[in-house]
Amino acid sequence: MNNVQGTGPIRPATPVRVVIVDDHAIFRSGLKADLDQSIHVVGEAATVEQAIAVIAQERPEVVLLDVHLPGGLGGGGREVIAGSASLLATTKFLALSVSDAAEDVVSVIRAGARGYVTKTISGAEITDAVFRVAGGDAVFSPRLAGFVLDAFGTAPADIADDELDRLSARELEVMRLIARGYSYKEVAKELFISIKTVETHVSAVLRKLQLSSRHELTKWAAERRLL
């Protein structure tokens, strides 16, 4: 479904410690069962307040975070990330959502999440995504790549442009291939570059997505209630 197919990132020697934040108990237990042996679920939370407390206590490497959560000020996943801002250096957030709405996805990424996948993703794919995020990389689904292309435009950056507001020609190529359903490995093969370079490009795009002050980005996301 979400081709976050892996190149099989190097599995860490020690298990990855994960907290699952989702308001549906059924989904949490299903996700736990689906995850690989080398992922340890050290905590669960169902609301914004619980999530912030559990994350602060457990200090997990990765938080699997639902975009829509009850509690708090109604900000959902975004609010959890904001509430855990001091831990962002060590704890990585991977957004999970049933929502395809660009507004939701972009807002949670801009809050600091390192990637976004939809809930229909398979167990193997999500395990892969967790390892990737834990390793410091960004996880882009084809849909998120589509959002990025739509928001930043498909024309490459001029040198004069503020580098945060546009994607370079290479980044555009990488995003296009991911939107077409290519795995990182396939992208690397297609562009004759190494997987590490692909990961660098993807991380750079994620950084631009998070930091760009491009006002169109917010406007664009608000206008696009769905894709």
Binding site: A179, R180, G181, R225, L226
Partner: protein, 472 residues
């Protein structure tokens, strides 16, 4: 009457010279537009009667758009057994603007205006032809009377006829006591206007009033009050001196003020209760609508899933179809233009998903209106999706990108791949339906196949002359 029943509703046409009144009237009556226009012009010469009639219709008759919006404030049920029926139906936008007056426009879960007939629901129902086509939902709200339909129109007409009769009688030399009649008529008219207001307030809980309606209500109240006061003044002043009149007026205003002071708290409380009730009713209507939708879509699908629980393939297919339907219902942007290329590609993807069971993920960047060559592009990508789903056996990724000069579609699967050279000559799927079709319409198609999967790339330049080849 039977012929009248098939008449189109009386709405102002968009094919207009001034306000579309004549064209609308002609469409409603089934007369040629030209003769209606000439007739209107001739009537204008007859003491301005045509002008008055025109102005009247201009004010009272809604435009086709307004009428459609009123009828279709809620779209017809977008639901459906997304699974077993035409998949394009469930994937399409929930019928954005049903034609007014047709049965499809009536919300099937019940008419929110309880007690009034929904337009066109009962073609054999009571009322003249005028009534059945120009139903309550089309008329301005203050014209609605529950017990007697069109009672007010009839009353108004009778009143106007009476006035005309009196004027003719005066012309003929009959002495009519106008000095008493006019004030009396003013009082009656003012009272009538004020009472209409009450009639509407009573129904306020049912009608989703807008601010404009409320402003209209105040204007009507003020007009009624002014008429009554003026009428009373004229009547009273006829019998006594001005001083007396002013004194009486002052006294009555004082008494009225006292009454208002006493009744105000009670009236305010009443008003608040009314508001609460209205809000409650609106919530209830919305809830009922959501419940109706969920019942017809989600609950039905869940029932189907339970019955076919043994068949994993069916369950996945049902769940996907339902997800798609619910997503489009929840997130569909009503402001978005329908019939764009991305919608078509998504609909085709949904159709392939339904028929073959493998997920088809469509990501689109940019969009464009459909043209004939885009239609060929859609057909070619449909063929490619079918192939990918059939032979790839997994998720099919579809990426559509529309940029200034070019439209591109990529269809990728993760199947074992195939060699185009080895496809037998008589197999037309790839060669004819994809490559040949794209070439005929001035586009390009290429296929890359490796053991890790196959990708079909389709491209179509945006500006191109339509060639005559249109056999697709």
């Amino acid at each position: 009457m039977t012929t009248a029943l098939t008449r189109p509703p009386l709405v102002r046409s968009s094919d207009r010279v001034i306000a579309g009144v004549c064209a609308g009237l002609a469409a409603h009556l089934g007369w040629p537009v030209k003769s209606v226009r000439i007739g209107m012009a001739l009537a204008t010469l007859a003491g301005g009667a045509g002008l008055a009639f025109y102005a009247w219709l201009w004010i009272m008759v809604p435009t086709a758009d307004e009428s459609a919006r009123r009828n279709a404030r809620r779209p017809a049920s977008p639901i459906a057994p997304a699974v077993s029926l035409d998949p394009a139906f469930s994937a399409g936008p929930p019928s954005a603007a049903p034609s007014q007056g047709s049965p499809a426009a009536a919300p099937w879960w019940g008419n929110p205006d309880a007690g009034t007939n929904a337009p066109g629901v009962s073609p054999g129902g009571p009322g003249a032809g005028y009534g059945s086509s120009y139903g309550p939902a089309v008329r301005p709200p203050w014209f609605r009377v529950r017990s007697m339909r069109y009672g007010k129109e009839i009353l108004l007409g009778a009143g106007l006829l009476l006035v005309a009769g009196i004027m003719i009688a005066r012309l003929l030399g009959v002495d009519v006591p106008l000095e008493t009649l006019i004030p009396a008529a003013a009082v009656l008219g003012g009272a009538a206007i004020a009472w209409m207001q009450l009639d509407e307030t009573r129904r306020a809980g049912l009608v989703d009033k807008t601010k404009a309606d409320q402003a209209g209500g105040w204007a009507r109240l003020a007009a009624g009050l002014a008429l009554v006061v003026a009428g009373v003044l004229v009547m009273v002043s006829g019998s006594g001196s001005w001083e007396q009149t002013w004194l009486a007026l002052l006294a009555s205003v004082a008494v009225l003020g006292g009454v208002v002071l006493v009744l105000l708290p009670w009236a305010l409380k009443f008003w608040r209760d009314l508001e609460t009730e209205r809000a409650g009713r609106i919530r209830e209507t919305e809830r009922a609508e959501i419940a109706a939708h969920l019942h017809d879509s989600v609950l039905q699908t869940l029932a189907l899933i339970q019955r076919r629980a043994a068949n994993e393939h069916d369950v996945v297919r049902l769940a996907r179809a339902q997800e798609r339907e619910l997503r489009s219902w929840l997130f569909q942007d009503p402001g978005k233009e329908a019939g764009q290329l991305s919608d078509r590609i998504k609909a085709v993807g949904a159709e392939v998903e339904d028929s073959l069971g493998n997920a088809v993920e469509v990501v689109s960047v940019g969009d464009t209106a459909m043209t004939e060559s885009h239609e060929a592009l859609v057909q070619a990508s449909r063929e490619a999706m079918l192939n990918a789903s059939r032979h790839g056996g997994g998720t099919v990724s579809v990426y559509l990108e529309v940029s200034d000069g070019r439209t591109e579609i990529f269809i990728k699967d993760r199947g074992p791949g195939f060699d185009l050279q080895e496809v037998p000559e008589d197999r037309l799927g790839v060669r004819e339906s994809i490559i040949g079709r794209m070439k005929r319409h001035g586009g390009t198609a290429s296929i890359t196949s490796t053991p890790d999967g196959t990708e079909v790339r389709l491209g179509m330049p945006a500006l191109q002359t339509d060639n005559a080849e249109g056999k697709s």
